[in-house]
């Protein structure tokens, strides 16, 4: 069983569209994250949720809206997609007091 799974793996869409990426973890972790990795492979945090509560909300356009229906799921909805949104989006989870994150395999978003 995959510990942190994201869908879809690839997403190609036109500018202006709205899209969602889903993430689920079966590790029982209490915190989930969204990170964006740009073309230079720089990973930058976007959001984190702890037990469905928003903890970190970095300087991200409000076109990006995370939703956590329960502590095992954290979805990312993006409105009015722009070319600059093209990147790989990683979901991750962690448990307080343990070592590091477990990452999902990423969603490569291409906006054309």
């Amino acid at each position: 069983d995959t510990a942190v799974s994201q869908t879809p793996k690839y997403l190609v869409t036109q500018m202006g569209n709205d899209k969602s990426i889903k993430c689920e973890q079966n590790l029982g972790h209490d915190t989930m994250y969204w990170y964006k990795q740009d073309s230079k492979k720089f990973l930058k945090i976007m959001f984190s949720y702890n037990n469905k509560e928003l903890i970190i909300n970095e300087t991200v356009p409000n076109r990006f809206s995370p939703k956590s229906p329960d502590k095992a799921h954290l979805n990312l909805h993006i409105n009015s997609l722009e070319l600059g949104d093209s990147a790989v989006y990683f979901c991750a989870s962690s448990q307080a007091g343990t070592s590091g994150y477990t990452f999902g395999s990423g969603t490569r978003l291409t906006v054309v």
């Binding site: 942190v4 915190t31 990170y35 230079k40 492979k41 720089f42 990973l43 930058k44 945090i45 984190s48 903890i55 970190i56 990683f90 962690s94 307080a96 070592s99 590091g100 994150y101 477990t102 990452f103 999902g104 395999s105 990423g106």
Partner: protein
Amino acid sequence: EDKVVQSPLSLVVHEGDTVTLNCSYEVTNFRSLLWYKQEKKAPTFLFMLTSSGIEKKSGRLSSILDKKELSSILNITATQTGDSAIYLCAVYGVSNTDKLIFGTGTRLQVFP
């Protein structure tokens, strides 16, 4: 602002060589430093170093934390082509969140 800087940005070596990757950080309330390896997809965890565990070793990989110099190194001895990857350094900063701040990564290419 919290910052993690890695050097070199890229490195090309031959199998059997030994490499040293560098990471320096400036964060508020340092807690721990982590190393990840990223091949095609998700970053995978290598080591976590804290004040109470400043040196870690696993096979041909080893890492040391220098809290005085606010830095860490990752050594890989007798490199193999399978070591080719991006190596990411990350630091837990602000104490009331589990936010990981990543460096820009070092791209290592090992040729036969």
